[in-house]
Amino acid sequence: MLSLYVKKLLGVGVAVLALGGLIGLYVATWATSAPPPVAATVAPASSGGDQLTLETVAAIGPKYSPTHPDWVSYLVRQNGKWIHSTIFTLPANTVIHVTLYQYDGESGLRNPWLSEVQGTIGGTETVDGKTVDSINPEEASHTFVVPELGVFVPLPGVPEEAKNQCEFAPCEGAAHRTITFSFRTPNKKGRYRWQCFVPCAAGYLYGLGGPMQTLGYMDGFLNVV
């Protein structure tokens, strides 16, 4: 028979192990959780390449993120539906045509250098149909930047005075800017990080916390396959 002391010791040991296991499970789940990857769709034959359709919203809303409905976020369209994901699967060495519907307001760039379009085909983007090589840094709302590929695209925001501002995603029908650009994916397959460089996390110190520090909102990966 085990003495009372040994039984207590065993009990404490088992409890510590169980607690450690739970903490480990929580950390492992947190560290490995990621949004589902969404594949680019084949672009119309006339343009060649593949198509990626994105949306940025000031608040993702409870439908897409019950835990953080007020966080700013990107969304991607798949089969005609908006999906909350920031991991995009793209074919290697292919021209990707991006159409981005920008529903968020202006907040400005911390580094105005990012107001210039870089790394896109032609070094330009179109904003509401107009081709530009840079934007007013004060009008930036977000950026789509893939540092390893040298792709830097500033995204102007919806002016404050615009009517019909979007409250929650999906924002279709609300005031927005339409931005298009194209870039070529590299030959080298792999995972390339992209992110927004505008400190756009409302309610966090200098706008740098929350959705800026959590995979799936203002940053993600291009899985080049």
């Binding site: 907040s107 400005g108 911390r110 580094n111 105005p112 250098w113 990012l114 107001s115 210039e116 870089q118 090589d133 840079s134 007013n136 840094p137 930047v145 540092p147 040298g150 830097f152 990080r193 992110q195 460089f197 505008v198 400190p199 756009c200 996390a201 409302a202 309610g203 966090y204 110190l205 200098y206 706008g207 740098l208 800026m212 520090q213 959590t214 995979l215 940053d219």
Partner: protein, 289 residues
Amino acid sequence: MSSSPSIPSPAPGGEPNHALRFTVLWLTATVIAMPLVIIFIGPILAPGGTGSDAVSGYRSDMTVLAAIATPIILLVALYLLYAVAFFRQPQGGALEGPAVRGDARIQTTWIIVTSIIVLGIAVFGTVRLEEGSGAGSGSGPNPLTKPSGPKLPVQVIAQQWLFTYRYPTYGGVETTHLVLPENEQIEFHVTSIDVIHSFWAYQLGVKADANPGVDNIAFVKPTKVQAFNVRCAELCGIWHGYMRDTGHVVTQSAFNTWIHQQQTAFAPATKVLPKYSKTYLPEPTRRGE
């Protein structure tokens, strides 16, 4: 107790002269080990390469420190082994050694020798640091010493999660990548526009904290054409691990060509950049207020 023919014979009374024997052993080991450390170990203790004055300085300094450490490490390690071999407890016995108290000679020697070593290393380190104008490290906004002659200022701007580089003598153009001319004295001005980062150009031996509102100056003279790794060395958020780049040291003519290409390529951005300043601390944005 055994003794080898090369070791001094036992002192009168049967017990060998341990002090003399150990001293001979230690000095012999030091004479053998020190050149090996200087030749083989010292150079690999420093960060890679010999691509700048700073990293070459590290190499020689680390070699000197390793050479100083060698007899000390040998003293400790050999004495441990010697004690295990010769001062072993007799089998079956439980003898207590005689207490040694108040040996003024040992205490004085210990204090003097350790003081000389520690103070010597401190003086050596300080002299080398200032002799090398900070030896590639961030020396704050007012470095105590500066290298003489002309210097090319390059501003390193850190933000989550990207380094960009501004060349004030070339119209304040800001670039995505860091390119430096060979054999030219570089004056880095390292700052941040958000949180704390650290600029680390590994093969150049440059490491300087990037703090918002601080102009942290570091000097280096790249001495050969090469690529080098740029990394952030301060945990700065979720994508800290991706805050990296490859820089290049190129010939003066290649640098001139490159910088003029950058001035053309980044002309639209340069127009909207704020005037060159030692620090940039933008007001919090509307969202962050």
